[in-house]
Assembly symmetry: C2
Homo-oligomer: 515 residues x 2
């Protein structure tokens, strides 16, 4: 057995059995050994950003990491943006980057580069495999490291000769670190804070699941504390019968309004609220003056358990949990725009759907109009690096093949990782993509104004408008059936048909750039 086979077998033994990849010459032994390890599923992406984003989406839904196989520094570079998003999502990713053979590096061949330096910014953990004797343990350690807690991108740099030389064989899983239990003293301190004044509980990460959200709602019902969710959760469970948690707004001024008057802000696996970008003469830190910030559970701690403990400390266990009533909007008619598009999705979202949301400005109303839809999961762009939607939807569909994935994709963002559609077509993944085509980087048109730069001139406007994209043709070019909708009725009918399709389909929704 060579190093590659020992590594792949070890991954499977550590319950990593899907690998999204875009390999090159230095990964050919890895690729060859795939056929020797039946337990490993390999999924080809035609661009590395698709592979890394798919690994993110997979792990968000599967609850365990996928592996990624990339080709040297440039391949890692191509995958970096979605690894950045995975890092912000605290997603476990087993990120394997093939490298030249150990002895070849000194020759500075054309593809030689400093992989560790490129990987540093997105990886919580990095190791370079140096010999086949230890590569199996390296693999097991990478898997364990990816779990954190919190989940992180664990990068294993894998030289080609470590793959091709003989290796002793696979090893068992490396023990994982469990999330730390929040000490009782801190629970009491937070309980005292909640009792002492106007409180908001800001939840995120691992606290966006049903049980934790019910506990937040119980606390709210018992104490009047307001529940807020982080702006872009990695995965939120929501829909009819689940507690409604308002998300902190993306726009800093709106978020400040949401936090206005709060005296105690309790963070539950959520970051201190800051402005997404800096703006002249606007605050970066969104917490009101004089408000005390309390960390109930940090990302490496057991947030759901901390909430349960807080419920107990506050005697809130019997509080009634307000939940979203079941209800869908009527099918919309008339012009197709951000509102009617959202109404149609609200009318049709299937039970158990997974929504990969990169609708951006055009998708603004979808969350609101699906609040009463049957229970579903909502995945967000956690790191702000656009081009996450199509890949994450792809990975999610691999993770939960019995559920419908709905990808809301803005026209601008979709172009970064369009190649995901090919993987969807090849594997027949059950993804319905809605492209919100407004011919514009609409969010930047708004931001240009918000940064106070002044009105856009002709050249600036040309940098913000993106006319002429025909997503129907683009989708068909990769084997995904597609239709275009220009009215609310057309969109509703086409979306209904796409959702009824067992496999990938795309609906291009032509909407105005202004809300």
């Amino acid at each position: 057995m060579n190093g590659a086979q020992a590594l792949i077998r070890t991954l499977v033994d550590s319950e990593v059995d899907v690998c999204f990849m875009n390999p090159g010459t230095s990964e050919m032994h890895f690729v060859h050994e795939l056929d020797q390890v039946p337990g490993m599923r390999s999924v080809l992406a035609l661009f590395e950003g698709v592979a890394t984003g798919a690994a993110d989406g997979y792990a968000r839904m599967a609850g365990r990491p996928a592996a990624v196989l990339l080709h040297l520094g440039p391949g890692l570079g191509n995958g970096l943006a979605n690894l950045h998003n995975a890092r912000r999502a605290k997603t476990p990713v087993v990120n394997i980057v093939g490298d030249h053979a150990t002895y070849h590096a000194k020759y500075d061949a054309p593809l030689q580069s400093d992989i560790a330096s490129i990987a540093a910014g997105v990886s919580g953990w990095i190791r370079t495999a140096t010999d086949p004797e230890h590569v199996a343990r390296d693999a097991a350690d990478t898997v364990a490291a990816s779990y954190g807690p919190p989940g992180q991108v664990a990068t294993l740099i894998l030289p080609a000769d470590v793959c091709w030389l003989p290796a002793p064989g696979p090893v068992g899983p490396t023990p994982r670190t469990a999330p730390a239990v929040v000490p009782a003293e801190r629970i009491e301190d937070v309980a005292a804070a909640v009792r002492s004044g106007r409180t908001a509980i800001l939840v995120g990460g691992t606290a966006m699941t049903e049980g934790a959200l019910r506990d937040v709602a119980r606390i709210g019902a018992a104490t009047g504390a307001r529940a807020l969710a982080e702006t872009f959760p990695a995965r939120a469970e929501r829909g009819a019968g689940l507690p409604v948690v308002e998300r902190l707004a993306y726009l800093a001024e709106f978020a400040q309004a949401q936090l206005d008057g709060v005296e105690h802000l309790v963070l539950v696996d959520a970051a201190h609220p800051v402005s997404f970008f800096a703006y002249p003469d606007k605050a970066s830190d969104l917490v009101p003056e004089g408000c005390s910030v309390h960390v109930l559970a940090a990302p490496d701690e057991d947030a759901p358990r901390a909430l349960a403990d807080l419920v107990a400390a506050l005697d809130a266990g019997d509080a009634e949990v307000p939940t979203a009533p079941a209800g869908r909007p009527d099918r919309p008619t008339g012009a197709l725009n951000a509102e009617t598009l959202a109404l149609a999705i609200g009318a049709l979202l299937p039970e158990g759907a997974v929504v990969a949301d990169e609708g951006n400005t055009g998708g603004l109303f979808v969350s609101g109009f699906t609040a009463g839809a049957p229970r579903h999961d909502w995945l967000c762009l956690t790191g702000g690096s656009i081009g996450y939607g199509l890949p994450v939807a792809t990975g999610a569909a691999v993770a939960v093949p019995d559920r419908k994935v709905l990808c809301l994709e803005a026209d601008g963002s979709g172009m970064y990782t369009l190649q995901a559609l090919w993987t969807q077509a090849r594997l027949g993944l059950d993804v319905t993509t809605v492209v919100l085509n407004n011919g514009s980087y609409a969010v930047l048109n708004m931001e240009l104004d918000r940064v106070g730069a002044g009105a856009a001139g002709e050249k600036a406007r040309e940098m913000l408008d993106i006319p002429g994209l025909d997503y129907v043709s683009l989708a068909r070019g990769m084997g995904v059936p597609a239709t275009r909708a220009t009215t609310a009725e057309e969109f509703t009918t086409q979306l209904e048909q796409a959702l009824a399709t067992d496999g990938p389909a795309l609906v291009e929704a032509m909407i105005p750039a202004t809300l």
Copy 2:
């Protein structure tokens, strides 16, 4: 005037007047100021790898750098692969990476990342602008740094507040460093070596221009020294009436055969020949045992002048220069494959064409069949990071709008930076793209065998085949007219029509995966 305007004006004053960009919120002041500086042309790309590759292609043809504007660490990551290629091409690139406002970094907002760390591997020079008072000088210094010598990616990290705060105004160009003159003693040493035994002169970089190549040919005619060119030159001048210089083969075994028996290897702005990848039981260093290696001109030295001096030292000035005779193959008939495709291109390549060659295995014969075509430039994939062709063709077309650009693009490679077609369509760039569609990562099928991994099983095969891409639809989806050819006659006719088109056009050539 704010910092952004001072910076843009300084770029223009330093003769950098094209900026390929994919901006975000932190770059909105830069975008706004474009309208205040008429001399700056801004070109939008829908993906950062298109912007960086276009800057590479632009500078290869214009002889001076373009600027690139990217959005934070993830935007830089998306552009990294083509910056890697630019680094290997020794192309000057003014790489501007927008960042959060200086005071915002500490809040670790979602898009915060360590930009300098990501940039390190591809940049020969990095600076972070820290205040608007000095940003103009920072810009001028970045331009000067990009020239090297040798040319390099010079990265300026540009915080948003440095752009939006008031600045004193533009500054004049920073003085550039001239390439060093090779000392007479070294010229004499190399001349002695050339006279003393079987010599090969390996030229690359700045020595791939007509004058330098004529000098290499003179030396060959006078002394018997063999002329070889580096495997993947950034820009080679070639065609009827110019000296023919055989390129060192990509496959190490072929390159070794080319170098077999050489006693003196003279490097002229070319790297020591090494294998592109490492292979079990094959050499990484391709220079024959006992062969002396002499550096006539290093990349930071004046290679054309050194060759002229060497001609003088060898009394070769009167030697007759053998050149490629004018001649084209006949229009091919029958099956469309790598050979007939190459024949058709040889029959039709227009005078003054710029060929951006990422044809890979399918394009193997094109160089040979165009050797006698009218004079043209040939651009290669210098760094091995695929997805260079469409962007480099785009940038070249911006640089030399009066010349036809022919992009040879493999189907697999084309998918990495497909978005370039949109920019071509928007600007009406005169690029004819030939997609060599063999439904396969054919080079990896070959490499799988060469690395000695053994025959591919079913899963391995699935990672190497990429069926189902329809480039006609993909091109139309971005506004580029396209046709598909399945016979040699169809291809020849369609290529002729595309070349006759003033603006972008794409011909998809369906060819077998095997040569």
